[in-house]
């Protein structure tokens, strides 16, 4: 049984050396962070727009900047270094600091639940990860946001689009998990 499971909420300690904080406190923290994001920069937390701009930047390196600026999508969301780029990079910095102090750094290739049902094959996990990531961002762009932009920032503003996003992605996530994690392998 996963010892990080929901069946034992940790206490209220907010020490950086803890590996896990109480999920309700973490949620409250993200909610309060949203207040300040609205108040100070008038910009809700989001992530997937910046990643798709990043993909425009990468495309520019290989196909030329004109190819990118001529594209109907990237011309409206031009790849540029700015607020959201810094936010994304420092999300990584924060997670690294937290993981370093909480002894959670791990060069994991095949995670536990995946290995239990899909085996220990590294290549299989990497391919599934790549495909999953591709599907994820395509879906996020089609929906206009991800778990941050819709799932948290949009829902808290009572956006209809976000309240459609939340249950629909939950349902297809459950179905996909049922297919992926049905049969245990002996690996």
């Amino acid at each position: 049984m996963n010892k990080d499971s929901q069946f034992s909420n940790p206490g209220l300690s907010l020490s950086m050396k803890e590996k896990r904080w109480n999920p309700y406190l973490v949620g409250a923290g993200i909610g309060i962070l949203s207040w300040f994001a609205f108040l100070i920069v008038n910009k809700p937390i989001g992530m997937s727009t910046e990643i798709s701009k990043f993909s425009g930047w990468v495309t520019g390196i290989f196909a030329g900047s004109e190819f990118v600026s001529d594209n109907a999508y990237w011309s409206s969301k031009a790849p540029a270094f700015g607020y959201s780029t810094v936010f994304l990079l420092f999300t990584a910095v924060g997670a690294f600091l937290s993981a370093k102090l909480g002894k959670d750094i791990s060069f994991e290739k095949v995670p536990e639940v995946w290995a239990t049902y899909q085996g220990n094959g590294v290549m299989k996990r990497m391919i599934s990860s790549f495909l999953g990531g591709a599907i994820l961002l395509f879906g996020a762009r089609l929906a206009g946001g991800c778990t941050s932009g819709h799932g948290i920032s949009g829902t808290m503003q009572l956006a209809l689009s976000s309240w459609i996003f939340f249950p629909v992605m939950f349902i297809t996530g459950i179905i996909t998990a049922r297919i992926l994690f049905r049969k245990k392998t002996n690996a």
Binding site: G31, E108, M169, T176
Partner: protein, 190 residues
Amino acid sequence: MDLPISTSSTTGLIIAAVFGTIFGILLNKGRVTDYNVIVNLFRFKDLTVLKIMLTAIVIGGIGVFAMKEFGWIEGYHIKDTNLAGIILGSGIFGVGMALYGYCPGTAVAAIATGRIHAMVGFLGMLFGGIVYALSYGWIKANLLNIGQLGKVRLDEVTPIPALVWLIILTVGSIGIFRFIERKAVKPDLI
């Protein structure tokens, strides 16, 4: 100091760094940088993600609503409701999230904690972003124009006012939390 601060100013970028760092810490301490925690949500084996999200929505929602009422913030920042795009996009997103085990934000944080498979998935995300941009012309002409309702909120499409929605959301979330914490005593029931 005049608020809001421009996101393109140097101060704005410093604030982005501060907010990003806090967000990253919260994601890691919330354990959502762990693949197992995220996929176990979809298997009803670990409801950490649900607890974090609902609490964030309730706390954030009450604060943002209050600040709007006080006139501290100008307006809402919400996304268009294009029914076909939203429903299809969210459906695709859920499949990707269960397969990858991360969403875009938690993926960025997980990469920073060393997870190699999260890094490979990031390349996948870049690829997905390229595919979307290249197919955007077709999508815009054939999908995004179906069911366009604009930037609408729940209190605009229903007769229920925003404050009542927030109360429903708060009471509903507390109910869900009580339910799952009670179930927690007998995990086999879930």
